[in-house]
Symmetry: C2
Subunit: 730 residues, 2 copies
Amino acid sequence: MINLIQKYLKIFLFTFIFCISFFVVSDDASPNLAITSKDINLIKNNINKVFPAKKELDSLIESNEKYISSRPVVPYPKDAGGGYTHEQHKTNYRLLYENALIYQLTKNVSNLLYVKDLLLEYARIYPSLDFHPKQKEQSPGKIFWQSLNEAMWLFYAIQAYDMVKNSLSVDDKNKIENNLLRPMAIFLSKGQPDTFNKIHNHGTWAAASVGMTGYVLNDKNFVDQALYGLDKSGNAGFLKQLDNLFSPDGYYEEGPYYQRFALLPFVIFAKAIDANQPELKIFDYRDSIILKSIYTSVQLSYNNLFFPINDAIKDKGINTIELVHAIAIAYDITSDNTLLEIAKYQNHILLTGYGFKVAQALNLKKERPFNYRTVNLRDGIEGKKGALAVIRNNEDNQTIVIKNTSHGLNHGHFDKLSWIFYDNNNEIVQDYGSARFLNVVQKNGGHYLKENNSFAKQTIAHNTLVVNEASQFNGDWKVSQNHAPEILFFQNTKDLKITSAKFEDAYEGVIQERTIASVHIESLDFPIVIDFFSINSNKKNKYDLPLYYNGHLISQTGNLSYHKVPKILGNSSGYEYIYEKGFINPQNSLEQITWLKDNRFYTVSIATEDNSEILFGQLGANDKNFNLRNENLFIHRVDNKSNLNYLSVLEPHGEYNPRYEFTKNPISSIKSLNGIVDGEITLIKLLFLDESEYHLVFTKIGDGETSHNYTTQLNNYEWKGHSKLFTIKK
Amino acid sequence: MINLIQKYLKIFLFTFIFCISFFVVSDDASPNLAITSKDINLIKNNINKVFPAKKELDSLIESNEKYISSRPVVPYPKDAGGGYTHEQHKTNYRLLYENALIYQLTKNVSNLLYVKDLLLEYARIYPSLDFHPKQKEQSPGKIFWQSLNEAMWLFYAIQAYDMVKNSLSVDDKNKIENNLLRPMAIFLSKGQPDTFNKIHNHGTWAAASVGMTGYVLNDKNFVDQALYGLDKSGNAGFLKQLDNLFSPDGYYEEGPYYQRFALLPFVIFAKAIDANQPELKIFDYRDSIILKSIYTSVQLSYNNLFFPINDAIKDKGINTIELVHAIAIAYDITSDNTLLEIAKYQNHILLTGYGFKVAQALNLKKERPFNYRTVNLRDGIEGKKGALAVIRNNEDNQTIVIKNTSHGLNHGHFDKLSWIFYDNNNEIVQDYGSARFLNVVQKNGGHYLKENNSFAKQTIAHNTLVVNEASQFNGDWKVSQNHAPEILFFQNTKDLKITSAKFEDAYEGVIQERTIASVHIESLDFPIVIDFFSINSNKKNKYDLPLYYNGHLISQTGNLSYHKVPKILGNSSGYEYIYEKGFINPQNSLEQITWLKDNRFYTVSIATEDNSEILFGQLGANDKNFNLRNENLFIHRVDNKSNLNYLSVLEPHGEYNPRYEFTKNPISSIKSLNGIVDGEITLIKLLFLDESEYHLVFTKIGDGETSHNYTTQLNNYEWKGHSKLFTIKK
């Protein structure tokens, strides 16, 4: 009897809550996530006036026609990433979202019915699903091999449902909500507490999906869990992720590849929060951290491609769909016309409110050049875990990236103090990126390849020092995660841009200080890069400084001994993947290596040491599955030394012009290089073939306002701040 | 006394001739070469109405200002190609031409004076010059290391002189004509009879320079020598070059790289002939061979780059300056608006009469798509020395080039029956081109590199059969020059484009027949290429069929044994440059190798033989100066066989999309491949994974109208012409 009463009470309560929620979420409040009913009206009323919105809609309709004329295809989960069922379920969430959007904009019933049928089909099979048969690592999904994909599925599906629910019967809504959306949200939250509470992009996807489901199903519990963590304490959840995943400069510790990926749930969920809980002022949160992070994402690119630091697919760029949304949302909030230059390049108009506003602005030709800046992006929650230095010479289309950041979690590489150099639209001194063929089933099912750990993450895969053929922290990322370089200084002046960092934890007893400067010398074609790498150790070591050059080797000073058959450089730490093709035993105090990329020459001039060797290498040894690109490098090796200063200059020069058949300045202009460390002062002397002479002086002492004075037998140097370039002879 | 009379007579005659020439070549007839006074008036009267002519002129003026504000720089000849004096003398002929043109269009005296001073400076030093200190091979110049450059110098200088001479004093003209132009023309004609009379592009440059000098100096002797050879018999000279350097289809036997280079003197000199001797109707000569050759040059390109057969720099394309002139001249004559598409891409408006007319037409947006065709370009003076087959699928942006031509003189490669495959804007099955860094002094002074002979020209450097590790004709080009493949048939229908050629001279006792077909299969993403290579020999041989794939190896069937340390493939004929990285011993009747280039997959499916091996190689062995690109290849090797049929299919498929993160069809659709030769009939059976089945049948018997009937146990095939594709099951 009591049971019966309880049962009726439950039914009554359920109906009551249902009615309340139904009344509260009235027709005109739907949709009300990142796309609102107001947005829909804006688009519908203006679509013919704003190019190319109507065309975009027509093309969206057309591309969906072939699908909606057939029955939905919802296969039982079977394949890993890249496989048939994986791709079909991905297709389905796109179909849900796109057809729901088309329905909103056209009221075409066939799109509605397709979305309804597709959701019902998922609602039919979902309750019976166990973990995916190819479950990945610790966090499997049900529809997909990993729960990350599942969260992405719900992310789109809930937005689709938000756009159709007012046109569905109560019965259909019940089935979809109770058999699919609610169980999936529960599975993604308390069903996998570790992932959901993780301060990590996987956690953000889960929070965004569950939180939006909460808004749509009017379930405050889901919303609060999403915002404040499973226990609603605020120690996890979206706000904590905003606190802890970005540095105060909007840098995401995993690096730009994961930053742009993580951005989508941040910006879409933030839009949804703004629509439902405007009082949270989410876009102002933590000094506008969401907007900062969007701007920083763009700053982390060259020639529209992201810097490939850490695990990164090198062909990812700022036209990625995540950044299409992010830029448009940022524009909607800021009306900053420089964002429109990015939107114009992206060439993808979204049929959302914010997307439509971008289209309107582009129609009015409001775009202005985006301000790519020289900037030291601090890493760490409080900005104290190193920094990523980005040095730009915009007129010369040059960028230097110096990775003085923290490790970057399990997608980080052992590459502290490494650098990348871009020039003439190419990555000239390059970073390997990750060893992965995304979604290519033949290549380890589209996962990261074995060589990602065994080579791409290792120190020798980067343009930074390797001590005794071992990676930094012996390749243990959890140890590396606790350490970051100390930024000694960063100075940005017109003809001299320079940064210096110190790192003393990567190798026991070895203190590394690297200073990299971009210097403008009047008589040269382009700015040059001065690299001064100072190493101090309490014992003798073998030091390897690799440089991955991109281009065709043109010349080198010194006698190159070419091995009849390549040697293999080593047995571990990534050395096993490198063929040694030949070497030079430097006989001169200056050795020069020149290569050609596209129509420009690049020379690295190296002040050499006694007992040093320059090895010429190529990737490919032990690469049994042809998983690596056969990139080229040279390694400046100095063995059996405790203290050492590596000094080199990278100089872009000349022109190779096959169209008009001429070649200009194929030879370096540098005659000699000299580095002197005297206490806390470092003096670098550059002598050019035209006998002009420049001295770079720098010190970590003081700050930008400190005055310094340094005298040698020949010269007296006076300057303010950390560094100055002196013209000795012009 | 008689001597004295003779002397006075000479002076009198000289003065008389001088006066006549002066009278005949009156002011309004100058300039009168490729640029005429009428052209100058056209440009001057319309320059502000035609975009971007005024801008071009302003920019031409501006780029010359820094030069004409200083004294001319005419160094004594010293350096080889790419060196300082070489480049300075090249700069000077450009300065002569450009400033003379600016003077014509602006009447600005400073440009005139600069041209005058520069010419006088050359006139001052030229008489004292002996052969260039770095003289090249058989035909040295004086200002330059080779007389080819010297002819090019005169080519521009005489055009410049033609534009200024009416503004110079008689004294200056005498100095310039008598100390520079006339002696240089004599040096380039009777001073080097072998080169001048050569039926070769070097001869054309000499003829054009000497002939134009003849028109300007009113020296009929020079003109007649240029047109008809030194002895004026017509056995040499420009007309003979038009007869013998092009096939009836406008193909130049050295290939497109030299064709475009050779074109400039042809078209400029032809324009000059037309202005001075219109009665020769030079553009109608030999069925309009000059125009044919211009069109053919464009046909010999893909994605705006020339096919890199024979000695070719791979980054040369249809925007090369020679073709800018040629296209504009062709447009001037034909008014064919499809040429304007090329001109628009070239984006270089010439301030000549023909260039200006192109600009006018582009202003009116008259350009129409150029008709890139499927065409069999016959080689040889009478079109009987083989052919270059160009098979295009324009809608799919695919092109196949099959090199069934003659050798191509000393720039030819040992590559008969080789092929190149282009798709998706890339060269997918690639030809190495030449081993040369044009004008890069560090790389053998900009000459062809040693590896051009020892590798790039060798058969193993190409996608064609190597017998017993030797090159065709044992690498002797003078022998090869006497032989060309026999074209068995060429058929161009909508879904089937196919050509077949036979070559029986390259290896003693070995008869090669290669048939390459492009086939459109409805269910596939893109057309596929069927390659059937039939070999018959009277003894057992080792057969190697290399394929240079461009992209990253994704997968291969069979167990790949990867060498711990690469082997070197051989000792000679180019084999010494190839590392063998690993191999497969095929266990199946079908082996598949898949690679990825940009966003598309490519699979070669190979019907394998017993005792065959597939070797995976990379260039770089013994490459002591890093002169070669490290291209990748695989070699299908069959040892100890006399007769053999290689059958394979190249299939572009799927999509790798990093922007939107999806991958489609990364796996080949082919299930099995079967080739049967039955007398004169070849039957190729293709079975696909979806169980659809197609049979390609071909025969060399008959012609395009011949009816054939062939019956097997399973099927009956009836067709007309050489080949047909039968749908067995869809």
